[in-house]
């Protein structure tokens, strides 16, 4: 009875704390500007099913894709076991779902095999991350906390899966010994192999079984509450993020409506511009100038670095790293969110996304080639943020390289980015080959 009560309290507290964290993240995302991503639900569901649920884009790189698939399928399927664990925990039952008979055996067996594959994949991931010196895991933005975060996730998963398998092994042994309520149910292809190495002392076995059961479930509660502080949040946010994907061709960059109003007024004196809501700022200086979708993406990024490893600027040694753009956006958003929470509304802290977090050298190294957007397994778009930062630099501050400004004035005066006369535009007709 006491253990049921403790379980109930732990479940309640962990769900409550997680809900509070989730609410904060939702509030932070709401700091962004509006953008319509609610049209065409059919295409959106399809996109989500393919990219998030179906892991489509992961398979641009086979090795990590297969390892990740083990962990992903393992996570989804083993969570079915959570239903049984929660019922058992609340009502003091043991393996309540075993009445399913043959199907139960099938479930337990598949949980076991998947748990083993998850464990194996996480071990390989640990090695890849820490000793194989894979380039995308060596970037400067992955030092310190991001590196610890990644390792913590992997180690936690290994511990959780080990506890799960060890619990089953003890259970299986107890079933064999015919102890108390340990009825012979389930099928244990993996843990039956561990069982021979366990003691036959009933008390110790019960202690192991219960200990692992508690470790596993408390570990999951703790992990749930770790998510909001971690890149691992992608396991939840990958779904809404892909649902709200940009459905336009990648080459299409939005036309700023505020500019359209001004340009129309300039070209046609009789045009009456619409009054647009909110303070007018061209481009993005800080996270509040981004759209809620950009902000949702920042929380979804799992720092895998496929974007950075395919970025032509990064490959050739420039400072730009699309992954860092996403991480900076998230870190600044967390800071701004805390600021808003503390002060009721945002109080200037003398910082901004541009300069404090992202430097000019980074945004001006981009070739807008869309390689980062193409590679992202969950359809994030670092390019949009880069372009919006440039818009701020150019339209609000007139800060661009002299050669870029020269290009602007050439277009303005001659209708071409180079200094040629408009009148000579068709001279090529006279040329000879």
């Amino acid at each position: 009875m006491i253990s049921q009560l403790i379980f109930f309290m732990l479940l309640g507290v962990s769900l409550f704390l997680f809900a509070k964290q989730a609410q904060q993240i939702y509030a932070n995302i709401q700091l962004g500007k509006p953008v319509d991503r609610f049209d065409n639900p059919k295409a959106r569901i399809k996109k989500m099913l393919l990219v998030a649920f179906g892991q489509q884009k992961m398979f641009k790189r086979w090795t990590p894709a297969i390892l990740h698939l083990f962990v992903y399928v393992g996570f989804c399927i083993i969570n079915i076991e959570m239903i049984e664990i929660v019922i058992d925990g609340l009502f003091g039952t043991h393996r309540i779902l075993s009445f399913l008979g043959g199907f139960y055996n099938f479930l337990i067996a598949s949980f076991e095999i998947l748990a083993f594959l998850v464990l194996l994949a996480c071990l390989v991931f640990l090695v890849r991350r820490n000793s194989m010196r894979i380039k995308r895991f060596q970037s400067p933005e992955l030092k310190d906390w991001p590196k610890t975060d990644a390792n913590l996730i992997l180690i936690t998963e290994i511990l959780l899966m080990s506890a799960f398998l060890l619990m089953n092994a003890a259970d299986y042994t107890l079933q064999g010994l015919g102890v108390g309520h340990y009825a012979q149910v389930g099928s244990f292809p993996i843990s039956s192999l561990i069982s021979p190495y366990l003691t036959t002392n009933t008390e110790t076995l019960v202690f192991i079984e219960r200990g692992c059961w508690w470790f596993h479930i408390v570990g999951i509660f703790a992990f749930l509450n770790y998510l909001p502080y971690s890149k691992h949040l992608h396991i939840i946010l990958a779904f809404p993020t892909t649902y709200f994907s940009n459905l336009n061709p990648k080459g299409q960059l939005d036309n700023m409506p505020s500019v359209t109003q001004e340009v129309k007024a300039m070209l046609d004196p009789s045009f009456v511009p619409q009054v647009l809501e909110g303070p007018l700022r061209f481009g993005v200086k800080d996270v509040q100038d981004l759209t809620w979708k950009n902000l949702l993406e920042a929380y979804t990024c799992t720092e895998c670095g496929r974007c950075t490893s395919s970025c032509p600027a990064n490959i050739t040694g420039k400072l730009l790293s699309p992954r860092k753009i996403m991480m900076d956006t998230r870190d600044r958003l967390t800071e701004v969110g805390d600021n808003v929470k503390k002060n009721g509304s945002f109080v200037d802290d003398g910082k901004s996304l541009i300069d404090t977090y992202i430097t000019r050298a980074e945004i001006w190294a981009c070739t807008s080639c869309n390689a980062c957007v193409e590679q992202c397994p969950v359809n994030l778009n670092p390019l949009e943020i880069i372009m919006d930062l440039r818009r701020f630099a150019v339209m609000e501050e007139s800060q661009a390289a002299a050669s870029v400004n020269a290009m602007f004035s050439n277009i303005e005066n001659n209708g071409a980015p180079w200094k040629y006369a408009q009148a000579d535009r068709a001279n090529w007709i006279q040329g000879t080959d």
Binding site: N255, T316, K318, T367, A371, V404, G415, R425, I429, Q430
Partner: protein
Amino acid sequence: MQNELNVPTMAELMARGETPEILFWVGCAGSFDERAQKITRDICKILQHVGLKFAILGTEESCTGDPAKRAGNEFLFQMQAMTNIEILTGYAVKKIVTACPHCFNTLKNEYPALGGNYEVIHHTELIQSLIREGRLKTADGHEFLGKKITYHDPCYLGRANEVYEAPREILQQLDVQLTELKRCRSNGLCCGAGGAQMFKEPEAGNKDINIERIEEVIASQAQIVAAACPYCMTMLKDGVKVKEKEGEIEVLDIAEITVRANKL
């Protein structure tokens, strides 16, 4: 070959009360860059050869605004766009072929929201359809037979608009040995000129992007690298020059290859 081309402008056609089937949007590079001018003339030769009635805007054409937009100057972009749309509307233009993937992308994707709706195709798509319709037939014993050719995907044609097959189909029907670069199609590596990089010095790094790309071309052992974008053309050509491979690797636009293979 003096002015054998006889390319009409929209204004001239209009004065004669005629309308072309298609407007050829030449683009700034195609108008002024010496190397790109040659490609422009080749596209005209193809159009004339198949008897497709076309026209250019001539001195009425102006930058689409793409480099300004990608450099953050949305004002200048929209000024250019609206002025161009006004001219295109004046001539009731419905279909446009471009020689430059940047013009292609901007006209196709970014003009509609500002009131400019056209069917926009890239010259590789046009050539592909001309071949499919049987209007373009490769000459016997052309110079590319059996040659090892690779194709560099321009970002604004490939990833940006998912045109991957048209240029490849054109090359394949030439009975060449088509070889792919290590990073190709959706994984293609940029030439380094997009996003207004064409008009500025690269940021500090340890290598130029076009050198990274040309090393891949060299590794492919191709004799010809085909391009479909005037910016890529400049970057690849410079890369070949830096690597002193001018004698071994030729950089040609798909339109130039088509003209030569058809002996136009």
